[in-house]
């Protein structure tokens, strides 16, 4: 109880007095805004009860080998253990060993990575987990025809993966030479190039063991074999999943991850209406919004107007930036001074308002969000001091780029996203002040990268000099966030994630970072990449996203795990019985 009130007091101090009564005498945790950020709200070891998740849709899959949603990676730690894992802690994104006894041991210039498994690991049916099961799990998801959803990092990094490799053709795993299992406790990965951050790959759900005998390919998701503290009791596709305790899970084999496994049961209701979900959270008939991206805009407006309800919220920072790319291959954006003019002219506060004001995110000064290691405060265009745009500076840059009276260009955005549209309208308004005419072009988000903003041919033909965008980290690390959006060598004819940033210096820095095994030195290099992108005026940095999450007061051990930017789904307990 002492700890609980201390947390409440800390929360008060942190948010500058959100509630006048103050903590200290009341029993239990007193809800305070942001009590679950950087610290644990209502710590407790009390077990039991049912934790009820709700989500407005379904996600790609519960199969660890076929999922690419943050909420899914967060949740699946309850029923799947991986070689390494993001620690359940509010203090930062830390990779710790999970099935392995320690983090990976690199050799051969970080091209070979070795892990040793712990003793006493078992599946839900009591059979032991071996290194072959992990090799099989990684191998099966290389088959992207069967498992189209998951990330392709292992396809990209493992050495000698045969073209069209599939475990369903090669039952003995003989052709996959880049993963060795010299004994039942050891697994060795061979990469095609040095990759110093391999421990981040080892935490991907793909390394959760799958027993080959029980694998049914695309149908495995209906009968996932658990290696974690919970197992599936029922799987009703598109409707409801129920997880119950896995009695074969031994907490002694899991000393580092921070999993608490408090509730006896977890239920996940799918397809709950968005407005209904927000109301049920506040009414206490759903405990956690599984999507973890914050409440709806109008619920947010309602909560912000009500201090007592606001005390039950956390404005959680996400490893996501809503930014806008100025593609360097579309005139006049091929001229750095023209790009600088746009960067000076846009209104950072207008950008922020479009995404929900200060609650929706902080004004960004570069791409890399502050929560990601390597982030350095860098504001070469003084955006924080001039949040309404800088007309004079913009005009100077326009003169330098030879267009003193401005120019006309087009801006692409996703028309089915109201916030992005509001942002585009704001950019249009602020650029008009310096004579830059922007015509807005809305495109459907489903094909935004395949057919429109991610297709250089289309972008050039339609003179799209400004491209609205947003990017969330696959994991909070410079590589996980920046590589896919600034490395010019990832640019393809269509379906790009890099919408038009090609800077040779950035590519060189990335290559250097990939071979730097010292974590601090590597993070510093990613900070340099971030700076180089800003110096090149390749983006309007926009905002570092936050989401207002509702935290029912009766929950225990609630905190935002910086690795996911969501509540940690392995620690929450409930006092509702």
């Amino acid at each position: 109880m002492v700890a609980a009130t201390a947390v409440a007091a800390l929360g008060l101090a942190a948010c500058g007095g959100g509630s006048s009564s103050g903590g200290g005498t009341s029993a239990g945790a007193k809800p305070v805004k942001d009590a679950g950020i950087g610290k644990v709200y209502n710590p407790s070891t009390q077990k039991g009860g049912t934790l009820r998740f709700g989500i407005t849709e379904d996600w790609d899959s519960v199969d660890p080998g076929d999922t690419y949603y943050g909420l899914s990676w967060n949740l699946l730690r309850n029923y799947a253990r991986t070689l390494t894992v993001f620690k359940s802690t509010p203090e930062g994104a830390v990779v710790v060993p999970d099935l392995a006894t320690s983090l990976g041991k690199p050799s051969d210039d970080a091209k070979t990575w070795t892990y040793t498994l712990r003793d006493g690991l078992k599946y839900q049916d009591g059979t032991p987990i071996t290194s072959t099961d992990i090799k099989y799990a990684v191998a099966r998801q290389l088959d992207k025809d069967t498992f189209p959803n998951g990330p392709t990092y292992f396809n990209d990094w493992l050495a000698n993966v045969p073209q069209g490799y599939s475990v369903y053709k090669d039952k003995n795993l003989a052709d996959l030479t880049s993963i060795d299992t010299p004994d039942a406790k050891t697994i060795v990965f061979h990469l095609k190039a040095p990759f110093a951050g391999f421990d981040y790959l080892a935490q991907l759900p793909a390394t959760a063991p799958v027993p080959q005998a029980k694998d049914t390919g695309a149908n495995y998701k209906t009968q996932v074999i658990s290696s974690g503290p919970y197992k599936f009791q029922s799987y009703e596709a598109g409707k409801r999943y129920v997880l119950v305790r896995n009695d074969q899970y031994d907490p002694k084999t899991d000393p580092d991850s921070g999993r608490l496994a408090l509730p006896d049961e977890m239920t996940i209701d799918l397809g709950v209406d968005a407005a209904d979900l927000d109301q049920r959270l506040q009414a206490g008939t759903i405990d956690v919004d599984l999507a973890g991206t914050g409440v709806q805009a109008q619920t947010q407006a309602k909560l912000l107007a009500d201090p007592s309800a606001l005390a039950n919220t956390d404005d959680a920072p996400a490893a996501r930036t809503w930014f806008t790319v100025l593609p360097d291959y579309v005139p006049p954006m091929d001229n750095i001074d023209c790009r600088k003019a746009v960067v000076y002219a846009y209104s950072p506060s207008g950008y922020q308002r479009a995404y929900g004001g200060a609650t929706g995110g902080d004004i960004a000064t570069s791409l890399l969000p502050p929560m990601i290691p390597g982030h350095v405060a860098y504001d070469p265009y003084n955006l924080l001091k001039n949040t309404d745009g800088q007309v004079d500076m913009a005009k100077q840059e326009l003169a330098k780029c030879g267009k003193p009276n401005g120019f006309t260009t087009n801006m692409a955005y996703r028309s089915d996203r109201p916030k992005e549209q509001a942002m585009a309208e704001s950019v249009q308004q602020s650029l008009a002040k310096v004579g830059i005419t922007v015509n807005l072009k809305g495109y459907p988000s489903g094909d935004y990268f395949k057919l429109y903003a991610g297709k250089p041919d289309f972008v050039k033909k339609n003179n799209l000099g400004i491209l609205a965008y947003g990017w969330g980290a696959d994991w909070p690390d410079g590589y996980g966030f920046l590589d896919q959006i600034v490395d010019s060598r990832t640019i393809r004819p269509a379906g790009n994630t890099n919408l038009g940033i090609s800077i040779p210096a950035v590519d060189q820095l990335i290559d250097k970072a990939l071979v730097t095994t010292n974590t601090d030195a590597r993070n510093a290099l990613w900070g340099d990449v971030d700076k180089a992108v800003m110096d090149n005026a390749s983006v309007l940095p926009g905002i570092w996203s936050k989401g207002l999450d509702y935290r029912p007061p009766y929950l225990t051990n609630v905190f935002v795990n910086p690795a996911f930017g969501q509540y940690d789904y392995t620690t929450i307990g409930t006092t509702k019985k």
């Binding site: 407006a301 479009a354 609650t359 028309s415 509001a422 807005l440 495109y443 459907p444």
Partner: protein, 330 residues
């Protein structure tokens, strides 16, 4: 063997309607005049008609109206909106004498101006699309009805095909697929042209079927036989003899098609394939307002009411017009 009728003297001087008193001269009335008299007596239809005229005038003088009573439709007013909750600071969605219908959440644009400018988009698209439908529908209908036989069979099946077309889905796909420049048009001009084409081109069978039916009955009349026996060309029969007799149904169904086209345009804008932002359109405003209706219902009312009143006015007027032109249809 005729028996001479014994006509009383003075009978030829009698007024046709003896009850009529006073000095008003009685004149023969054309069909149009009779219809106009009937229409004028129908107060509901007249109210609809007046509303329609007001709406059209409003759309035509939108810039003037906005300069008198409003602010430019795309101008942001951040000072009127809370940076925190994104809601209008003033009560009732920010309604005041400066902002007659209040302001939008998030960026504080003047709703009055956006409604007035939105009327231009709605009415322009609805009118031109209706014109297109009617033009195609009348030509196809009259040709099918007059010639009959295989011509009729082909055109009628064509109508069936068009009626079975999944129009909304097609519209969404087409608007997404059109390039930036086409037919010398670009940006919103092109968007509006495409919307007019989609709405107009695919709605012709409705009026086409009605015209075909009417033509089938009219072509059996004596004056058509007379024209044929006098050696009139098909063209002159179609457009000189038949078309003037079809003016009434064309007029009536055009008036009834306009409101359905207004709704269709609003639906497309609501689905995000209408005119491009930041141009105001009623459907687009309604779409935005649905994200805010719980906390800022005042945002929902202006576009909702604008669509409601416009569609109702056109429908009432169209109904009244039909009753006036063809009382049997009552």
């Amino acid at each position: 063997m005729t028996v001479p009728v014994d006509v009383e003297p003075g009978a030829y001087d009698a007024e046709p309607e003896a009850v009529v008193t006073g000095e008003e001269r009685i004149e023969g009335r054309s069909l149009g005049q009779i219809a106009w008299r009937r229409l004028r007596r129908d107060k509901v239809a007249m109210a609809g008609g007046v509303t329609v005229i007001v709406l059209i005038v409003m759309a035509l003088i939108a810039p003037l109206l906005v300069s008198w009573f409003g602010h430019p439709p795309n101008e942001f007013h951040y000072n009127l909106v809370s940076a925190d909750t994104q809601m209008p600071l003033a009560k009732w969605g920010g309604i005041s004498k400066d902002y007659l219908f209040g302001v939008e959440p998030v960026n504080g644009r003047d709703l009055f101006s956006r409604i007035v400018y939105g009327a231009r988009i709605s009415l322009l698209i609805a009118f031109l699309a209706t014109l297109l439908s009617v033009a195609i529908g009348v030509v196809m209908g009259i040709v099918a009805g007059y010639f009959g036989g295989w011509v009729d069979a082909v055109i009628s099946r064509l109508m069936d095909i068009f009626l079975a077309f999944p129009l909304i889905v097609f519209a969404i796909a087409l608007v997404g697929a059109i390039p930036d420049h086409m037919f010398g048009l670009t940006g919103n001009g092109l968007r509006i042209a495409v919307l007019i084409f989609i709405i107009g081109f695919f709605n012709w069978p409705y009026i086409g079927r009605i015209i075909r039916g009417q033509t089938l009955s009219i072509r059996e009349r004596e004056f058509v036989d007379a024209a044929i026996s006098l050696g009139a060309t098909h063209r002159s029969i179609l457009f000189r003899e038949l078309l003037p007799n079809l003016v009434a149904p064309i007029l009536v169904y055009s008036t009834l098609l306009i409101p359905s086209n207004i709704l269709f345009e609003a639906a497309l804008s609501f689905l995000g394939v209408g005119v491009q932002a930041p141009t105001a359109s009623w459907g687009g405003m309604l779409d935005q307002a649905t994200n805010w209706f719980q906390v800022d219902p005042e945002f929902l009312f202006p576009p909702g009411l604008a669509i409601f009143i416009t569609v109702l006015a056109f429908n009432l007027f169209g109904d009244g017009l039909r009753d006036a032109i063809d009382p049997r249809s009552r």
